[in-house]
């Protein structure tokens, strides 16, 4: 790849590590390469070249390749986790809160430029550098569990039902991989409907969806 480094992308200057967008350029390049060629097959050198940076500049932001993976995966859960905390504490009907969380969360995974959810099954996700991602993802799942419990599922059935709900939400990654021309917006809406059905709540209606959209638009920060 070295010979192609100067083609198509600006070559980094010595000060490139301080470019305001350098960190984001690394994440964009890594997201593309990790989901395309694969995590193991992607070197930090290839990421730096794709980002238009020197490898030393990349290391300034990310000391190890796993740190880049951790930063990418954090983006796939952190916004949903913040939303989930507000929804769990909220007072709207539980089916509205559950639909809203699933809609936003599937939207985050399904609408991201790169299909980062496809990286969740990497063995590297078990490594110490990814501990924070694992904890945040577990917290997000626990928030779904609170809504599942609030929906009236028997206490002994909450854990398994939450596994299924969370599995359905995250399955957007496999669906995107299988069908790159997927109608993502339809899938997000149907996926949120599916979560409500899976929990055994009443069949989703246009009123439910409208209430959930209003809730998402008006939640206090």
């Amino acid at each position: 790849m070295g010979k192609g480094a100067g083609v198509g992308r600006p070559r980094a200057s010595g000060a490139a590590a301080n470019r305001p967008d350098a960190r984001q350029a690394v994440l964009d390049a890594a997201g593309e390469l990790f989901t395309g060629a694969g995590y193991a097959a992607t070197t930090t050198r290839a990421i730096a070249e794709r980002a238009g940076l020197r490898q030393a500049s990349l290391y300034y932001h990310f000391p190890a390749k796993e740190d880049i993976l951790a930063a990418l995966l954090a983006e796939t859960v952190r916004p949903s986790l913040a939303l989930a905390a507000r929804l769990v504490a909220g007072s709207a009907p539980v089916e509205v809160r559950l639909w809203a969380l699933a809609y936003a969360d599937i939207g985050l995974l399904g609408g991201a430029r790169h299909n980062l959810g496809a990286l969740y099954l990497l063995p590297e996700v078990g490594s110490p550098n990814l501990a924070r991602f694992r904890a945040e993802r577990a917290d997000l799942k626990a928030a779904y569990g609170k809504l599942v419990a609030a929906a009236g599922i028997a206490p002994e059935a909450v854990a398994t039902r939450t596994d299924l709900v969370f599995g359905l939400v995250e399955s957007i990654a496999v669906t995107r991989r299988d069908n790159p021309s997927l109608d993502v917006e339809a899938h997000i809406r149907e996926g949120a409907d599916g979560v409500v059905r899976l929990v055994g709540l009443a069949e989703p209606t246009e009123e439910l969806r409208a209430a959930a959209h209003t809730l998402l638009a008006t939640l206090p920060d």
Copy 2:
């Protein structure tokens, strides 16, 4: 790993490639290593050592590492595909056939010794060597689609609903990875219930589950 090759496992003799169980020994070893250390990090040498075979004997059965992956992944869809064909052609109520297929399919993925469904998102699944696996998995999904359509889902909604059903079924791989001490049997039963709920059929009952078990036990070959 070379130094440990003689420890704990019988070292292969020259005739090992012809051992009746050599092929299966390679698959067992590869299943363990691919789902543990990861596909990219596992060499055919390490697989041969774990299987108690010479590397040449491994190549006799599998010319390339991707051929081992293809054989492993075939095991995760082929039995379900054969069952699905019989269920699609059958005449039992659609909710019974759908519950039976989901139960058997989640059981195949969830009950296998190694969590092979965790390999579905590998970039190597897109390679030419895996074309047959991709085709068989697509055929299995299409069979779910026929049952979803038979359940009365509007024609324009069948594809998305089938994506969700298939995603829910395959999500057992992530759930197993997250929780190695999972109550797999409960998850399989609840997953099959979840598929029926997701399709919008009547809430699953003990009668439905019993009818599906009877159907699975009495299907002609």
